[in-house]
Amino acid sequence: MFAGLPGTGIGGVFYLLLTLWMPIHELYLLWHGRSSLARWRFIAERWMLFSAVILVMVVQVNLLKGYFDGKSPTSASPMAPVAAELGVDPNAGAGILLGSGLYAGAVLLGVILLVHMVRLGFWYKAYFKDLAHDLDLQRDWAHVKAFASRVRTSAAIIGREVRVWWSWNVWRKVVTAR
């Protein structure tokens, strides 16, 4: 990725995939009027490098296969069984390439999925936090208590008024009776 950081080639595969994606991305930009000839030239240069890298890998694997034919016990790729399942000889150049490519692709997909899962985790956490806030029983209990207090106060006032009114009526009746 940058100087000082080691890599295995998985990072390189990620950037090769990004190179593959460039024309599609550029078509999107073209549609929105943000593309330019210089950018297409840059993509052409990247695609040239991309093709050269793939070509070198194919040549390398075929050379190795030719040299070690009959000596190599099995493909070094952890995904070689998958290649075999797909009907490709895991020890053949194409098999090694396919196996390695599948492995790198699986790792990349895993990493990117993991990133999105972590993001989803954050969203859910935030969502549940909101939900917990909405369902905050302590806060609601405080509201209930405040409401009850208001009800009690109101009832007390009304009760007092009723008592006053009743007392007044009683007193009035007594006075009238006299």
Partner: protein, 381 residues
Amino acid sequence: MISLLKQPDFTDRESDVELYAGERAEPRTRHQKLLKDRPGLTVLIPAYNESAFVADTIRSVQNQTVPPARIIVVDDCSTDGTGDVARACATDRIEFTVVRPEKNAGSKSSALNFGMTFVDTEYTLVIDADTTLAPDAIEKLMANFDSPKVACVTGMVLPRHVRTLWEKGRYVEYLYAFTFYKPIQDYYGRPLIASGCFSAFRTSVLRRAGGWSMRTVGEDMDLTWTIYGMGYGVRFALDAVSYPVEPHNFHFLHKQLKRWSAGFVQCVRVHWKGALEIPYLRSMVAVALWDALQAILGLFVIIPLLAIFVHPLFLLGYVLDLPAIAIPVFYTAYRRGEVKRALAAFPAFWIMRFINSVYVLQAFWNEFVIKKKLEKFEKGH
């Protein structure tokens, strides 16, 4: 007064300027009149005991096709006369200032933040005191500020000397990283780092970001990710070339790699929540982390075990990817007319891979497992 221990507050900048204006070569107003047709750019050069290199650096800035308005050298209390060497380089053509804090700032970030208080131009360019520039580097770099959303532009970096094993390894690393990874990162608008040795910033954004953070030892990466978090963009100029002096022996390489590896891990720790919301950056960081971890595991555990217990042919795993790496390296070397140099240097890249892995493993262990954070800033040469 500026605190050298805490992150400075740039809101009270004018008072700071008054306080430290003692060593300014000439009045600023006169130069502002002279330089009205030049781009509003200040070149900031932090220097600590760089008397052997700083003169070359200053001259390379003075001889640019588009010279800056002002050069500020921050002499961080050097003991080798760096300030005097720098002052001797002053010319009438460009406003030139040497500033010196009251005591050694302790890190490049602190020295840069101190120097920032003197910057009054729209753009600030930072170069290391041991870094020379190609004659058109500033012109090519500044051409990339083509949108108000671009807050930072970083340039291409290549070692000035390619003599020792370590310089050769770094030369190939730079050729590979700057011509294969970084242009692709730039295409998607997310260069992973604006190199600390040669990057230009919009001063206003830099101030709003709080300058260079002291929370990590990877201040350049930290600032880059902070800028992304603020919603601004960073660009990479492949044709703007700078030449820093790289570690020539293992003593200095050790210090540099220790700082770089810890800086990366610290930046991931500080920014990971924010980075998750930045498209492409999150994938690049995740892949870089995973790839580094897998490289450590592969180089030191899986390949040796397979070679010992299964078949010695698995040792080929150490070199299988080198031809693919060679393509972008030699393509760039050919364009620069340096194929022989690249050929001679290529084996050193293989050795550097093991050394890098050791330091990244150490950084993961220290920062993530035993929580022993690297805080001391040590120079890489």
